[in-house]
C-alpha cells in the first residue's frame, strides 16, 4: 500500500494544453516535495511546500498543499515538450521534517509537439 498515491500514472497531451497531477494520502505530511526526473538521471527538486493551503508558483508550474496537509497538486499551464518527464511527489510522514522521505509512484508526462 502506497502512503502517497499519485494520479494519473500516465498522461500524454499536446503542446499548449493544461494538466494537473495529484498526490493524495490518508495521512498527514509535515511537508511535501515535488521532483522531476528525466531518463538516466536522478530526480531534481522542483519545490517544497510546508504550510497547509500553501500555493507556490514556478513559471508555468503551480503547486498547492492541501489545507489538511494530506494532499498536493501540480498544475502545468501551456505544457511544452520540455516538460516531458516523470513527476514525483515525496514527503515526510507525520510531524517530522527529517528521516525517511516517502515517494509516490510517479506520473509519467509526455508532451507532444
Amino acid at each position: 500500500t502506497q502512503l502517497l498515491e499519485q494520479s494519473p500514472q500516465f498522461l500524454s497531451i499536446q503542446e499548449g494544453e493544461n494538466l494537473t497531477v495529484y498526490c493524495n494520502s490518508s495521512s498527514v505530511f509535515s511537508s511535501l516535495q515535488w521532483y522531476r526526473q528525466e531518463p538516466g538521471e536522478g530526480p531534481v527538486l522542483l519545490v517544497t511546500v510546508v504550510t497547509g493551503g500553501e500555493v507556490k508558483k514556478l513559471k508555468r508550474l503551480t503547486f498547492q498543499f492541501g489545507d489538511a496537509r494530506k494532499d498536493s497538486s501540480l498544475h502545468i499551464t501551456a505544457a511544452q515538450p520540455g516538460d516531458t518527464g516523470l513527476y514525483l511527489c515525496a514527503g515526510f510522514h507525520g510531524s517530522s521534517n527529517t528521516g525517511k522521505l516517502i515517494f509516490g509512484q510517479g506520473t509519467t508526462l509526455q508532451v507532444k509537439p
Binding site: Q2, Q6, S31, Q33, G40, E41, G42, P43, V44, L45, T48, L86, L88, A90, F92, N97, T98, G99, K100, L101, I102, F103, G104, Q105, G106, T108
Partner: protein
C-alpha cells in the same frame, strides 16, 4: 564535488555474485539516502544516514542488503548473492541536513542476469 557522484553508472552481474555500489555525497552534507527505483516506478526507500547517528535501515528488503558510511563521506551499498529481482536503478541522495534540499546522483543501473 559539485554534485552527488555514483559509481559505477552501470553494472551487469551474474546471479549469485556480490556487488558494491558507491556514493560520494556533496561535501558537508550530513544526511545521505539510498533508494531503489524499478523501471518507470517511484523511489523505494532503503536506508538513511544522518551524521553519527545510528542509520535507519528499515527499508532494506532482506539481509542480503547492507550499507555503510564512514563519518560524513562516502557510502557503499552492498548486495550479496544477487537475484534477478534486484535489477533496478539504485539512487543516492544527500542533504545538508535531513529534511531539505535533497540532491540526487544519476544512479547505478544494476542488471542481474
Amino acid at each position: 564535488g559539485a554534485g552527488v557522484s555514483q559509481s559505477p553508472s552501470n553494472k551487469v552481474t551474474e546471479k549469485g555474485k556480490d556487488v558494491e555500489l558507491r556514493c560520494d555525497p556533496i561535501s558537508g552534507h550530513t544526511a545521505l539516502y539510498w533508494y531503489r527505483q524499478r523501471l518507470g516506478q517511484g523511489l523505494e526507500f532503503l536506508i538513511y544516514f544522518q551524521g553519527n547517528s545510528a542509520p535507519d535501515k528499515s527499508g532494506l528488503p532482506s539481509d542480503r542488503f547492507s550499507a555503510e558510511r564512514t563519518g560524513e563521506s562516502v557510502s557503499t551499498l552492498t548486495i550479496q548473492r544477487t537475484q534477478q529481482e534486484d535489477s533496478a536503478v539504485y539512487l543516492c541522495a544527500s542533504s545538508l541536513r535531513g529534511g531539505y534540499g535533497y540532491t540526487f546522483g544519476s544512479g547505478t543501473r544494476l542488471t542481474v542476469v
